[in-house]
C-alpha cells in the first residue's frame, strides 16, 4: 500500500508525537523519583529506597496510590472550570515542548524492514519546525498562566484564589524577563527558528561559541527567570506547603493533582530544554573532535534538571514582595540593557563581532 505524501508526513508526525509523549511521561515519572532521591542525599538522608532496587518503582507506587484516591470536588466549586484547569495546564505544558528540537536532520538507513517510502528519508528530530519557533514557546507559556488562574479560582476558596493569583502574577512578571533574555540570542542568530539558533552556535572551538559565553548577562537573566517561571525554589512561595496551605492546588486530589504536578514538571523540562538549545548549543558537542548528536542534548537537559533540583535543596525561599521586586526592578532592566548592548554590537560593530569570532577561530 502506497501512501500519498500528505499521509506520509502525517504518519511520521504521529509516530514522532507518540514516541515523544511516551518519553516525556517516562521522564516525568523518573524525575519525581530523582528529585526525592537527590534532595534526600543533599539533606544527608536516604530517599525512597523500599519500592524496587533503589526505590526506582516509587513513581509506579505513587501512581497506583493516586489512581485509587478519592476524587473530590468541593461544594460550591465551579465544576467545569475545576475539571478543565489541570487539563489546560498539561495541554500548554506539552504544547510548548513540541517545538524544541533535540537533534538536526537524520537520514533513515536503507533497511529492508522499513517501508519503501521511509528508506533514506530525512526526518528532523523535532515535532514542528516553526519559523517563529521561539515566539511560539513564549506565547504558549503566556497561556500557561491560565491553568493556574483557573485552578485557583474554580475551587471557591479564598486561599486558593489568592495563591493562584499570586502564582500567575509571578509567572507573567518573570515571563517578560524570560522573553527579553531570549532577544539577545535571537539578535545573534538572526532568526526565530530554534534550529537556526543552534546552528549559529556551531564553530571550531566547540564550547566557546555557545551563547552562555557570548551572552553571559542574558544567560544569568534566563536562569533566574526560568526558575521563577516554573515556580521552583527559591521562587515557589505560591505553592509552598508551609505558607498559604499549598496554594492553588489545595483542593485538588488524586489524578487532577497528579496532572497539575505533571504540568509543573513538564514546564520545568521545557525551560531546561529551551535553555539547553538557546544557551548551551543544543545537540552540538562541546569539544571539536566528538560528533554532534542528540545524546549531547539529553545530557545538557539532565544537567539542567539536576541544577533545578540542586537549587531546591540549597536555597531558601524568597518572600513574595522580594520576588516581585527582584523581577521587575532588577531582571527587566538588566535584560533590556543586554538587548541594547547586543543590538549595538550587532549593528555598529560588525568589525567588533568579526574580530571576536576570528579570535574564537
Amino acid at each position: 500500500m502506497s501512501l500519498t505524501p500528505v499521509q506520509q508526513e502525517l504518519t511520521i508526525a504521529v509516530v514522532k508525537v507518540v514516541v515523544f509523549f511516551g518519553a516525556l511521561l517516562t521522564l516525568f515519572s523518573v524525575m519525581t523519583w530523582a528529585e526525592r532521591r537527590l534532595l534526600a542525599f543533599m539533606q544527608f538522608r536516604l530517599g525512597p529506597n523500599r519500592t524496587g532496587p533503589i526505590g526506582i518503582l516509587q513513581p509506579v507506587a505513587d501512581g497506583i496510590k493516586l489512581f485509587f484516591k478519592e476524587e473530590l470536588i468541593p461544594a460550591g466549586a465551579h465544576k467545569w472550570i475545576f475539571v478543565a484547569a489541570p487539563a489546560l495546564a498539561v495541554f500548554t505544558a506539552f504544547l510548548s515542548i513540541a517545538v524544541v528540537p533535540y537533534g538536526g536532520t537524520v537520514t533513515l538507513p536503507r533497511w529492508g524492514l522499513l517501508p519503501a517510502w521511509l528508506q533514506g528519508r530525512e526526518i528532523t528530530l523535532q515535532i514542528a519546525d516553526l519559523d517563529v519557533g521561539i515566539l511560539f514557546i513564549f506565547a504558549i507559556s503566556s497561556l500557561g498562566v491560565y491553568g493556574i488562574v483557573m485552578a485557583g479560582w474554580a475551587a471557591n476558596n479564598k486561599y486558593t484564589l489568592l495563591g493562584g493569583l499570586r502564582s500567575s502574577a509571578q509567572m507573567f512578571s518573570y515571563e517578560l524577563a524570560l522573553g527579553l533574555s531570549w532577544v539577545g540570542v535571537i539578535l545573534l542568530a538572526g532568526s526565530f527558528r530554534i534550529q537556526d539558533i543552534v546552528a549559529a552556535q556551531d564553530g571550531p572551538r566547540g564550547l566557546l561559541h555557545w551563547n552562555f559565553v557570548q551572552q553571559v548577562v542574558g544567560f544569568a537573566v534566563y536562569l533566574v527567570a526560568a526558575t521563577a517561571e516554573v515556580n521552583r525554589t527559591p521562587f515557589d512561595l505560591p505553592e509552598a506547603e508551609t505558607e498559604l496551605v499549598a496554594g492553588f492546588h489545595t483542593e485538588y486530589s488524586s489524578m487532577r493533582f497528579a496532572l497539575l504536578q505533571m504540568a509543573e514538571y513538564v514546564n520545568m523540562i521545557t525551560v531546561a530544554a529551551v535553555g539547553a538549545s538557546l544557551f548551551f548549543g543544543g545537540w552540538l558537542s562541546p569539544v571539536p573532535f566528538l560528533p554532534d548528536s542528540p545524546l549531547w542534548f539529553f545530557l545538557k537537559l539532565f544537567a539542567g534538571l539536576f541544577f533545578f533540583i540542586w537549587l531546591r535543596g540549597t536555597l531558601p525561599r524568597l518572600r513574595y514582595d522580594q520576588l516581585m521586586a527582584f523581577g521587575w526592578k532588577v531582571l527587566v532592566p538588566l535584560a533590556t540593557i543586554n538587548i541594547l548592548v547586543t543590538a549595538a554590537v550587532v549593528l555598529f560593530g560588525p568589525g567588533l563581532l568579526a574580530s571576536w569570532r576570528r579570535m574564537l577561530g
Binding site: 519559523d131 517563529v132 488562574v149 500567575s168 507573567f172
Partner: protein, 160 residues
C-alpha cells in the same frame, strides 16, 4: 485541509463569541473571549501571518485577558441578576442584524483575489514597521504606553 481548519476555527470563534455575549457570569465570558482570541490567532496563521498570530496570543490572550481576569476575580463579581427587558433585546437584535447586513453589503466582494505569493514573515513586517511613516507611529505608541502605565496606576490607587 486549510479550508476545513479555517471553518473549524471560525465555528469555534463564533461559538465562544456567543458565550461572551450570552453567559451570565462575567468570568465565563472572559474565558469565552480567551477561546475566541486563540481561535482568531489560528485563523491569522491560516491567512499567512505567523508573526501577528503569535503576537495576538502573547499580547491579547496572554496579557490583556489576564488583566481582565485579575480585575474580575479581585472585585469578586458574581453572576448578573437582573436581565435586560424584552424590548431592549428585540431592538438590539434588529440593530445588530441591520449592522451586519450593511457591513456585508460593503465588505463581501470588496477584497480582490488574494495574491499568490505573500511574505508576512517577521523580517518583512519589521521592514515595513521600522521605516517611515510607521516608525513615527511606533515611537508615539511607546509614549502612549508610558502614559497608560502612569494613568492606570494613578486612577486605581487608593487615596491615602
Amino acid at each position: 485541509m486549510t479550508a476545513i481548519l479555517f471553518y473549524v476555527f471560525a465555528a469555534l470563534a463564533v461559538g465562544s463569541a456567543l458565550v461572551v455575549v450570552g453567559q451570565r457570569n462575567p468570568i465565563y465570558s472572559a474565558f469565552g473571549l480567551i477561546v475566541t482570541l486563540c481561535a482568531l490567532s489560528a485563523i491569522f496563521g491560516l491567512l499567512g501571518s505567523p508573526f501577528i498570530a503569535v503576537l495576538q496570543v502573547v499580547v491579547y490572550a496572554g496579557a490583556i485577558m489576564v488583566l481582565f481576569l485579575f480585575v474580575l476575580m479581585l472585585l469578586g463579581v458574581g453572576a448578573e441578576d437582573r436581565k435586560s427587558g424584552r424590548t431592549l433585546k428585540t431592538v438590539a437584535a434588529v440593530l445588530a442584524a441591520a449592522l451586519a447586513l450593511e457591513m456585508g453589503a460593503v465588505l463581501v466582494g470588496a477584497a480582490p483575489a488574494p495574491v499568490a505569493s505573500f511574505d508576512a514573515s517577521t523580517r518583512a513586517v519589521a521592514h515595513v514597521l521600522f521605516s517611515a511613516p510607521y516608525l513615527y507611529v511606533f515611537e508615539a505608541t511607546s509614549i502612549l504606553i508610558l502614559a497608560a502605565l502612569v494613568g492606570s496606576i494613578v486612577l486605581a490607587r487608593r487615596d491615602p
